[in-house]
Symmetry: D2
Amino acid sequence: MKIAFLGLGSMGQPMAHNLLKAGYEIAVWNRSPAAATPLVNDGARLCQRPADIAGSEVVISMLADDAITHDVMIVQGALDSLAAGAVYINMATVSNDLTRKMASYCSEKGIHYIAAPVLGRVDVAAAGNLNILTAGEPDQLRRVQPVFDVLGQKTWHFGDNPEQASTVKLAANFMLATVIESVGESAALVKAHGIEPKDFINMLTSTLFSAPVYKNYGGMIAEERYTPAGFKLTLGLKDVRLAQQAAEEKNVPMPFASVLRDNFIDAIAQGDGNLDWSALANVSARRSGLK
Amino acid sequence: MKIAFLGLGSMGQPMAHNLLKAGYEIAVWNRSPAAATPLVNDGARLCQRPADIAGSEVVISMLADDAITHDVMIVQGALDSLAAGAVYINMATVSNDLTRKMASYCSEKGIHYIAAPVLGRVDVAAAGNLNILTAGEPDQLRRVQPVFDVLGQKTWHFGDNPEQASTVKLAANFMLATVIESVGESAALVKAHGIEPKDFINMLTSTLFSAPVYKNYGGMIAEERYTPAGFKLTLGLKDVRLAQQAAEEKNVPMPFASVLRDNFIDAIAQGDGNLDWSALANVSARRSGLK
Amino acid sequence: MKIAFLGLGSMGQPMAHNLLKAGYEIAVWNRSPAAATPLVNDGARLCQRPADIAGSEVVISMLADDAITHDVMIVQGALDSLAAGAVYINMATVSNDLTRKMASYCSEKGIHYIAAPVLGRVDVAAAGNLNILTAGEPDQLRRVQPVFDVLGQKTWHFGDNPEQASTVKLAANFMLATVIESVGESAALVKAHGIEPKDFINMLTSTLFSAPVYKNYGGMIAEERYTPAGFKLTLGLKDVRLAQQAAEEKNVPMPFASVLRDNFIDAIAQGDGNLDWSALANVSARRSGLK
Amino acid sequence: MKIAFLGLGSMGQPMAHNLLKAGYEIAVWNRSPAAATPLVNDGARLCQRPADIAGSEVVISMLADDAITHDVMIVQGALDSLAAGAVYINMATVSNDLTRKMASYCSEKGIHYIAAPVLGRVDVAAAGNLNILTAGEPDQLRRVQPVFDVLGQKTWHFGDNPEQASTVKLAANFMLATVIESVGESAALVKAHGIEPKDFINMLTSTLFSAPVYKNYGGMIAEERYTPAGFKLTLGLKDVRLAQQAAEEKNVPMPFASVLRDNFIDAIAQGDGNLDWSALANVSARRSGLK
């Protein structure tokens, strides 16, 4: 199975490497070709342009956002270079809007579109332990399952319609953001009453809230440790906005998402946009006069 | 150490029983004396009136709410019956307002007031595995630590001021409510996109959200299983309101708490007040036209 | 008709004066008696204690808040001094809770309780042009209508239950607060786009929003002129909280009220509590990075 | 001055007619040409295609939304048909995004772009009494002022950047939506307390809230008279969303806009999308159990 991989950022690079190590023949493309060097050294074929992936049976993209994905895959001709019957797997977090556009474009070309965004950061990607959230034609999902088995510890299937996977990914990121906001608000509440936020968070995560997400974000908030950014606050706003769009499509009011949007905007206005998104907790602290 | 225990509801009864089994001499009082019978059969002394606890060294109350606590302990004379130097431990979830009032009343009588609300429901109380959130004079906390060791698996200390423990308890309940609301909103979002909420929740709780609280409430919401009520929705509104009051005292805006309040009120207006508070998820479902 | 007037603050003083000028025999009481001097010079009888109003047929109070009203009228014995058949008119903005308590206390004594909060500030009170929002027994309202005719330009009747008038007053103050918040948000929006808020507000108030309330608050916000305080921001928070309580009694979610509460708290945390409540607009400006 | 007018809907038709009556030479285009007949009968020249406006010195469009404006003016070649130096006036309510795109497209062609959305409905347009909110190059605004003088009672100038006019228009529509929501919430509050909303609204609009907007929307809400739709609820959601986008561009949190968005979505989910946008008040009524 000849695979092409477009987008060799911090996530894409280790993912492509894992496929290479698993023995797949890989063609790679990245906007700045330097990122491809280690892969090329290990046997990957370098594409100069997106359209050079012609001949690939399976194409995976892990590109930064909607606009870049659209540009690389459609405008720069990556999809047009493929033969009918190929599978295109988009593993980035994108909007439902883009998902529809890409699926429809693929459909006209006889290409099978699979949405497969992932849960897990760089180290998880490197270990091949991602959780892969998929939606698309069941036959095609079976066909590329070996690829997913290399990249992730588990593949989840949410339906035949690619939007279903992007919706689930956006819902999961929304859930993460609600954790940050709720810890931020309660940390401000207890701090205002003279209690160390870390004592409160330690108690929570030792009892009912013993999930990694509370431990990680709780720890960062208690220590106000917002650099380096695991996930930038500006990206948090983007994902909440995409979740709101997915919700609006089906008439789902999401008041927590609305609070998140306003608070992310507040954080960016105060200059925190490049911090880790857990710095959303600064908003509660500032508004309470605690900073 | 002679202990008095007032309030033998679903939580108070097993707690008092554990103290009895641990060998303490216990006087018990309950509004309807029938609840005291099993304890009396096992050796507890029955008080006809709250003031009959006179002579106790340590008094524990686990009464339903602010008004009843005030009535039993002050109006009906329980505290007046105690000798200076006694310790009064209030283990119920009450407002900071009441905490201040009780602490001040005790202080005038030379009684030591300890706030010690708990995390854990009936089965946890029965197993002596509560998490006990305390605040009060350190010396007095050390004095009653053996009592806490019988009732709970762990005692947490949040400061010398009793309000600090009630604030922490209210913050913890706020956190629980945010879990319910966020799961409710995202369950509506995915359901509106044709995805089974249980598949979504199963994925979440198998990955980043592997805490008991997400498993329990997520499961209830996925199955719309809101009876029997582990914790009634009307009590959820009450606790969010108390958290808001604690926040307002120190000028802490809590926009998630505000959303929770409005949604709890909505739920009660639709007749869901006696369901488990995870039925808050019905609000998102109804507002999205999914019910 | 012998009238007693308790509470001679900035509103009470001109109101009592108008009654005196209209020829009524007036007994007056105020916490600090100095405020009574001008009235006494004009013929009012000074009461040393609230209970000295004994013998009055109609009692009016215009006291600062719930606690003081309760203290003066009940604890200090003003109501107890009255004969059955007297009318007690509470013209201050108080909670529905206090309204119920006072009405019930009066009812036991055979006193007729009328809630009659007012719209209008000091100058309006002085001119006898208040709008008086009443609820109570229709017969008694007719009986005291001549008094209202002196104090106000118009008397509005909202029902037989005194809570209905306090609810209307709280709803009106909520409406005023929404005007301030909406002007504050849109002023921040246009300012962030390089438009002078005063140009925007001038356009609005010259067209669809040609009401006094938009002109007054819009002007203050455009000029950031928040002193002297016509109505203190801390009182704005209090009234929004009372509106929320009135709403919660009948299961009415009010998400705009929730936003107002959080933003008033934010304003107070930043030190703006003593400014005019239109300084709520500072919250939008600060959160947008415009201050 | 040869003028072209594209978009002869309920607003465009009377506006074009006024220009004709004022003696201008007008070319008109509409998707369905039938709407142009009365104008052609009165002397307007009918364009078969948007590009047939070639030769016009001033072009006005009043098209339904962003997508149609983009399609007619760019894709179908209206702008390409113009000579450098022409002025294009967009009088519809569109997004800042589209405003930027159109302005940049015009700039490349040497066409002067003016944003000039209006306040006022059909009858106001027919009477030539619109309020016209403009932004663009001051020289060009002076050049077309005679045109605005025909269409409106007053022209407001908000800056040189066309986005400034679209931002002001979106801010004004946001303000209108806040009026509807605040009346809706307080109407629910008073109704739940047994007070007729119409009595409450009558009092408000006779006193502090004596603006047309409160009278109109207040009356509709009091009588639950939501058809015929003066402005459809779905369009209300669209405009709030555009206001949120304009706010996000400059980092302005707008929590009232967030509440509006969620409530408009709720209304649409319950089937009220085609009612007048004042039917937003149904959301408060339903959530309070009053419907």
